[in-house]
């Protein structure tokens, strides 16, 4: 992905997002004006207008730049990498609710280590067990926190 393509995508996305906020989110999810002070929509509207104006400005500048030069390359998004780490993290809390803190924590740590590239059994088991047990003891007995 080139820097120009990256900028076009990001400014375009911000413009669409701020447009959605201005036209739908802010009017639909803000309370009525109580009759004094500033309206509850004022600050969100100011922020969204700022985002919209700046993103359109950035878009125009990027398009003008595109005519003059191609620009450098930018690092792309690695979807597989994101999926590999965010999916187990997203599933950990429901798993803790159904399986219990320690089994779900051990499974999570083992999976994350495998995803990181750990292939040796002894470190994998130790690194899975020790932090989970330490956090369990800390939360359960030292801090008295309700367990997830």
């Amino acid at each position: 992905m080139t820097e120009i393509k990256r900028d076009v995508i990001s400014y375009g996305f911000v413009a669409m997002l701020s447009g959605a906020f201005l036209l739908w989110v802010i009017p639909a999810f803000s309370p009525e004006y109580p009759g004094y002070g500033a309206p509850p929509t004022l600050m969100p509207n100011v922020a969204a207008c700022l985002m919209l104006g700046l993103s359109l400005l950035g878009l125009v500048r990027t398009v003008l730049r595109r005519r003059r030069a191609d620009g450098g390359t930018a690092d792309g998004v690695r979807w597989r990498h994101l999926f590999l780490f965010f999916l187990p993290c997203g599933l950990m809390m429901p798993a803790m609710h159904h399986l219990g803190f320690i089994p779900a924590g051990l499974l999570f740590m083992a999976f994350i280590q495998l995803a990181c590239g750990q292939r040796r059994i002894a470190p994998l088991v130790l690194v899975a067990a020790l932090p989970v047990l330490a956090v369990y003891l800390l939360m359960r007995y030292a801090l008295g926190v309700p367990m997830p």
Binding site: E3, R6, D7, I9, S10, V14, I26, F29, S30, P31, E32, Y33, Y36, G37, A38, P40, L42, M43, P44, A47, A48, L50, M51, L54, S55, G58, R61, R65, R68, A69, G71, G72, T73, A74, D75, G76, V77, H81, L82, F86, C89, G90, M92, M93, G105, M109, Q113, C116, G117, Q118, P123, V127, A128, P131, V132, M139, L143, V145, P146, P148
Partner: protein, 520 residues
């Protein structure tokens, strides 16, 4: 007044408080010593733990973490040429050549003593300057505060990022996120999408942990997986002159230490510039004032002293705008605002009137943290050196698990973990698309103060559009805002037209936005 100061310092000297500050310093040095972990990341992870401490101990603990991390960051920089924190990058230029000559321990000692000197200088400045400045700041009304936040956010967006446009977009998005929750005037939910858990507003903890710690680890794992680089093995010389930093050498670095401490204190007191700018600028000044500038970059003690004194001075001096105006000077100070709020304090000039004893107790903790940093650094130098060798495959899964549990600890709900993941995903995309997530976090933190001051202006003036015109200080501050925007935009246009090659330069969030010309 004297009784309040003494009572505050007596609170700071409680054994429990000293132990928590000690714990903070150890955690901070440990975190800084591990490549890939930095001060704000460590603070974000430690804030949930501070819930269980008294307010004085909690702030002392977090200040200890911050100070420890500034020194700790120099350890991997010197030994591995891989700075643990961006502000330690300048330390590596002279520190790593020394380590390659077998003088790694000496370089670390120079870094330690310089850090403590810079820190002590800035702490003294904080104690002397904050209270008088706060009494002046008390004369500022809502219009001035509103205008001041405009200036602060513009400075942060223009100096802390490579693009003012993207910096301001990020700050505006942060403000939008800060608007989620109960609206202050009508007391009804706003922008909550009907989700009950959002009615309390979004807490700083999931945002801080997600954007600073979790996304950083995901980015580092992306670089690590598939990379084949191996670490250099550093050996230490046994000769005393290669290990110890003598008093004579310390005195020879005296001028550099003082100059760099002053530079660091000034940079830290200004919002947005941060420690990396301080250390690069101080290094640049050390080279310019040296009789033998050619030795810089090859293992000059003054190079390490300049960088470390300046970046450590930022840790204490960044508390000056926090205490006097309630505006964070850098990311660590922004996270401290969250900790203050959790413990029922609102940073700002009123704190000196309403919680003076607490403020002086925090001063005491800051002084204690400086002394403990010296002790911990001296006692555990060799031990901390071993930390740089912890394999990332062991470390990163532990940090990921700690991030998840830290987010859960903030309010004991799985919803906060989901929020943390969502914000880390957002930070990942912001990094990839070259947006500053730091501007977003600062915009998020300042949004409620900004909105409250605007509400007060509108209510007090009965919707008079010329309210700002009647306040000269507010007019000056707003003019300053427009001047900064115009100047940055002009400089960007000039750079764009004069050097097209720069446009293709690779970008990296760990690198500071400004680098002086004389660096090696």
């Amino acid at each position: 007044m004297i009784e309040t100061i003494l009572a505050g310092f007596a609170d700071a000297l409680h054994l429990a408080n000293i132990l928590f500050v000690l714990l903070g310093v150890v955690v901070g040095v440990t975190a800084g010593a591990i490549p890939g972990i930095n001060g704000p990341m460590a603070i974000a992870l430690c804030i949930p733990l501070s819930y269980y401490m008294s307010p004085v101990a909690a702030i002392g603990f977090l200040v200890g973490v911050n100070k420890g991390a500034f020194f700790g960051g120099s350890i991997p920089g010197i030994l591995l040429n891989a700075p643990g924190t961006p502000e330690s990058a300048a330390t590596t230029w002279d520190g790593h050549p020394m380590a390659l000559q077998g003088k790694g321990e000496k370089a670390l000692r120079v870094a330690l003593y310089s850090s403590v000197t810079g820190d002590a200088f800035a702490t003294l400045l904080l104690v002397l300057v904050a209270a008088p400045l706060a009494s002046v700041a008390l004369y500022m009304g809502p219009p001035e505060i509103f205008a001041l936040i405009c200036v602060a956010m513009t400075i942060i967006a223009s100096l802390g990022t490579r693009s003012l446009t993207r910096g301001l977009i990020a700050a505006a998005f942060g403000i939008l996120i800060g608007m989620v929750g109960i609206e202050p005037v009508s007391a009804l939910p706003r922008l909550t999408f009907g989700i009950v858990a959002l009615e309390r507003g979004i807490s700083l903890i999931p945002i801080g942990i997600g954007m600073l710690a979790f996304s950083e680890i995901i980015m580092q794992l992306e670089r690590l997986i598939g990379s084949t680089t191996t670490q250099e093995v550093i050996s230490f010389s046994d000769k005393a002159e290669d290990r110890l930093f003598s008093l004579g050498e310390f005195l020879r670095c005296g001028k550099t230490l003082l100059r760099s401490s002053f530079v660091g204190s000034m940079v830290g007191a200004l919002p947005g510039l941060g420690a990396p700018v301080a250390s690069f600028f101080a290094y640049d000044q050390a080279v310019k004032h040296s009789y033998c500038p050619d030795t810089f970059g090859k293992g000059n003690l003054e190079g390490i002293a300049a960088s470390e004194a300046a970046n450590s001075a930022v840790a204490a001096s960044s508390l000056i705008p926090l205490f006097t105006l309630g505006i964070p000077g850098n990311m660590a100070a922004a996270l401290l605002i969250g900790a203050f709020v959790v413990h029922g304090m609102t940073p700002g000039p009123l704190m000196f009137e309403q919680n003076a004893r607490f403020v002086y107790a925090v001063y005491g903790s800051v002084v204690i943290a400086s002394l403990l940093l010296l002790l911990v650094g001296r006692a555990g130098l060799r031990l901390f050196c071993k930390l740089v060798q912890v394999p990332p495959l062991t470390l990163y899964p532990v940090i990921i698990f700690t991030c998840t549990m830290g987010a859960y600890l903030s309010q004991y709900t799985a919803f906060d973990v989901t929020l943390m993941l969502a914000f880390s995903l957002l930070a990942y995309f912001m990094r990839k698309f070259d947006y500053s997530f730091i501007c977003l976090i600062i915009g998020f933190i300042l949004a409620p103060i900004w909105e409250t001051s605007l509400q007060q202006v509108i209510i007090a003036s009965e919707i008079d559009p010329f309210m700002f015109a009647k306040r000269p200080v507010a007019i000056i501050l707003m003019a300053l805002t427009f001047f900064i925007i115009a100047k940055t935009a002009f400089a960007a246009c000039k750079a764009n037209t004069s050097s097209p090659a720069l446009r293709g330069a690779p970008s990296c969030h760990a690198c500071p936005p400004r680098t002086p010309s004389t660096l090696p």
